[in-house]
């Protein structure tokens, strides 16, 4: 009760501080002080403090199961383990928006603290733009999705958290993903402010690069966590389904990756300035769309949770205003700096980064069209359609071939004008990769042309980057790590999709199911009680084609509140492959539906994405060190 009240009033105080911040930064903007007024830092800190208080208030309401709070009532239950009571705080619409707001205020505070060397007006304007976003969120929260709504009479018991969300990976997935999304808001505000101040320069690039890298790191890790969760919790056994909800998180990642590469150019030479601003705007707008499309009910996805379309309208208006405002600022203030236009030669690092951007934009437009086309068609003609994975695979996979090749060669080029050095070794590695790919596929009795070409180009990137680790001249450790990990990612995805095998059967307890040379024996079921669910654990003995015997124990959980059955896959992971077994009960039948999968190199997908993100993070610290 009290925690909830404190939370609510802190939220209102936070909003008041927003207005104070706007007022004092406008005042500070034109005065003669060289530095930013200390008062502004204090105000920003207080705003952060109140939003944190509000968030902690909500967490306390969840921990103490205070069902007078509507959000707690809708999403919690007394028997839920403490960990999921806490994670339930952001496992719902209201709480997740509050988390957004928290990160927004945290980041602008950090920005103010960390940007001492930057010009005063630039910092103040960034603060102003960020406050516009923050005020928008405050209003949205207070008006349409107040996390502290009171219920009277106070219910005795809550409705419970959707059991499928009661999972460690999904408990940390939203905060991490939001760190990435919201990090892009700083990039957005900062580049708008840099445009108005005509401050897009090498110094600016160096400073904004850190923010881009940090949000890129969190966004990558956040997407990966969601993917891991989908892998073992949904029981489909894949890691990416081209579902609209996944796609909306991929889109800002693509623009952010493009931006990351562009800023590298800006660090050296003043070109591509308008493109960088456009990318910054696009990344943030796509991030916002990502958050809201998931919750607004506009997207038709299997992931969609129960939702409220009216909130969508507020958000659409807010988004529309932001887009309009940012484009207006961009067109009014942007001046292409002409002092520095030198010729760029065809063979140069700049060109290769431009090529990277072209690819990113192509991937983005494929994903964007595939995701939004069903929405438009529904609005225009009322036809209900969905766009399946083959659409994305067909359009993206072939383009990966040149993409991988450019990725291998690009970083070896010099700025402005370059010659390809070590042509001989490049060619030798190329031939080696083709042979290697060909022999592997031959050995596996698969020789599809496209696979050979794809795998050879991935191998090519693998070898070239591996070699670059040992060559002083190309020693850009973070970049090499990231590209190297990307090659591992593509290789493991390819081999995973080629070599995966799956067996689906309906089977009774005690029965044995035969396949090829192996069999699955359903030994018994064991029942178990936990605090908020009962579980039925199946004991399976599986004999693989190669004669190896493994034991797997998938689980069915029947949660008490809300009454829901979830299945927990049992996965045995080794460095070579995952074996995956999930079972489902068809209600009222004695048959269990089981799905047994062998998925080679699964773990390498997660390892490579983590390594790739780390590569980005390393480069943040490296730059600091050099100074």
């Amino acid at each position: 009760m009290l925690a909830s009240q404190i939370g609510y009033f802190s939220l209102i105080l936070g909003l008041i501080f927003s207005f104070l911040l706007v007022a004092s930064s406008i005042k500070n903007f034109n005065d003669s002080n060289k530095n930013i007024n200390q008062k502004i830092l204090t105000l920003s800190f207080l705003q952060l403090f109140f939003v944190i208080t509000s968030f902690i208030g909500l967490i306390f309401s969840f921990i103490s199961s205070d069902f007078s709070n509507e959000t707690v009532f809708n999403n919690s239950h007394t028997t839920k383990p403490l960990f999921y009571k806490i994670s339930g705080t952001w496992g719902n619409h209201e709480g997740s928006l509050l988390l957004w707001l928290l990160i927004l205020t945290l980041f602008i505070f950090l920005f103010l603290v960390k940007s001492n060397e930057q010009p005063k007006k630039y910092r103040l304007l960034t603060l102003l733009f960020q406050q516009v976003i923050i005020i928008g969120f405050f209003l949205f929260l207070l008006k349409t999705s107040n996390p502290f709504n009171q219920l009277f009479p106070v219910p005795k018991e809550g409705l419970g958290l959707n059991p499928i969300l009661q999972d460690p990976a999904l408990a940390i997935h939203p905060p991490i993903l939001y760190l990435g999304y919201v990090g892009s808001s700083i990039v957005f505000s900062a580049s708008l402010s840099a445009v108005t101040q005509n401050y897009i320069s090498k110094e600016w690039a160096l400073h904004i690069k850190k923010w881009i890298l940090i949000s890129w790191f969190f966004l990558s890790i956040g997407i990966m966590l969601g993917s891991i969760w989908a892998y073992y919790e949904l029981g489909w056994g894949g890691f990416w389904f081209w579902d609209p909800v996944e796609n909306v998180s991929l889109m800002p990642w693509l623009t952010l990756t493009a931006l990351l590469h562009c800023v590298l150019v800006l660090e050296k030479r003043i070109t591509l300035t308008s493109w960088i601003v456009v990318l910054s705007i696009a990344t943030f707008i796509l991030s916002m769309c990502g958050t809201f499309l998931v919750r607004s009910g506009i997207l038709n996805s299997v992931h969609t949770f129960a939702n409220d379309p009216e909130r969508g309208i507020f958000i659409l208006i807010f988004l529309f205003i932001l887009i309009l405002l940012s484009l207006l600022i961009f067109f009014i203030f942007h001046k292409e700096k002409s002092e520095n236009i030198k010729k760029i030669f065809w063979l140069s690092k700049e060109t290769s980064i431009l090529i990277n951007n072209w690819f990113m934009m192509y991937f983005l437009s494929v994903v964007l069209i595939g995701t939004t086309y069903p929405i438009f068609l529904d609005v225009i003609s009322g036809l209900k359609i969905s766009v399946g994975p083959p659409f994305y695979q067909k359009l993206i996979v072939p383009f990966l071939i040149p993409f991988l090749l450019f990725m291998a060669i690009g970083p070896r080029l010099n700025w402005i004008k370059s010659k390809l050095e070590n042509k001989l070794s490049l060619i030798i590695f190329f031939i080696l990769s083709i042979f290697l790919a060909f022999f592997i596929l031959k050995k596996l009795n698969l020789d599809l042309l496209i696979n050979t070409v794809l795998i050879s180009s991935a191998f090519y990137l693998f070898f070239i980057t591996l070699r670059d680790f040992f060559i002083k001249k190309f020693n850009n450790f973070s970049q090499t790590t990231a590209h190297f990990s990307f090659s591992i990612l593509i290789l493991s995805i390819l081999f995973n999709s080629i070599l995966s095998s799956e067996i689906i059967a309906n089977i009774k307890v005690g029965e044995k199911f035969q396949f090829n040379k192996g069999n699955i024996l359903f030994e018994k079921i064991v029942k178990n009680e936990s605090s908020n669910y009962q579980s039925v654990i199946g004991h399976f003995k599986i004999k693989n084609d190669d004669g190896k015997i493994i034991y797997l124990k998938p689980e069915l959980r029947i949660y008490n509140q809300p009454i829901t059955i979830t299945s927990e896959a049992d996965i045995k992971t080794t460095f070579l492959s995952d074996t995956f077994l999930v079972m489902n009960l068809v209600k009222g039948q004695e048959y269990f539906n089981i799905r047994y999968q062998v998925k080679p190199f699964m773990i390498w997908i997660w390892i490579s994405v983590s390594l790739m993100s780390l590569g980005g993070l390393i480069s943040v610290f490296k730059k600091k060190h050099e100074k």
Partner: protein, 139 residues
Amino acid sequence: MYGKKVKLRFLFLALILVSVILLVILILQSLKKNVVYFQSPSEIKLLVDINEKKIRVGGMVKKQSININSNVVSFIITDFKNEINVSYSGAVPNLFAEGKGVVAEGFLKDKNYFLATKILAKHDENYMPPEVKKAIGDK
């Protein structure tokens, strides 16, 4: 007439334009091929001819219609006006049950028989895909 530079730039622009147009055509073409339409049992009854494209059928699983053996699950999807027999061999999601909403993806064999290749999972007990809601009307 024009300098070499201008010509080169023009060529470059033309190249970009052509490749963008080609890409857009490519995207739209494969969109056309890979779109999966959603139909209700009643809409299927009204079909004139049955083609071999993949579709989705949505509605409710009819009570007492699930029949299961070691590799096939068969059941009836109904929208309370018309119904269709579905047979399916594959993994069944948790929330698949009699009297609940369902979306099945697969191929029509004839107007009364649907061969499903996938049954879509849902996350939320109370959640009903908009398609199903539409298919069963106000009910």
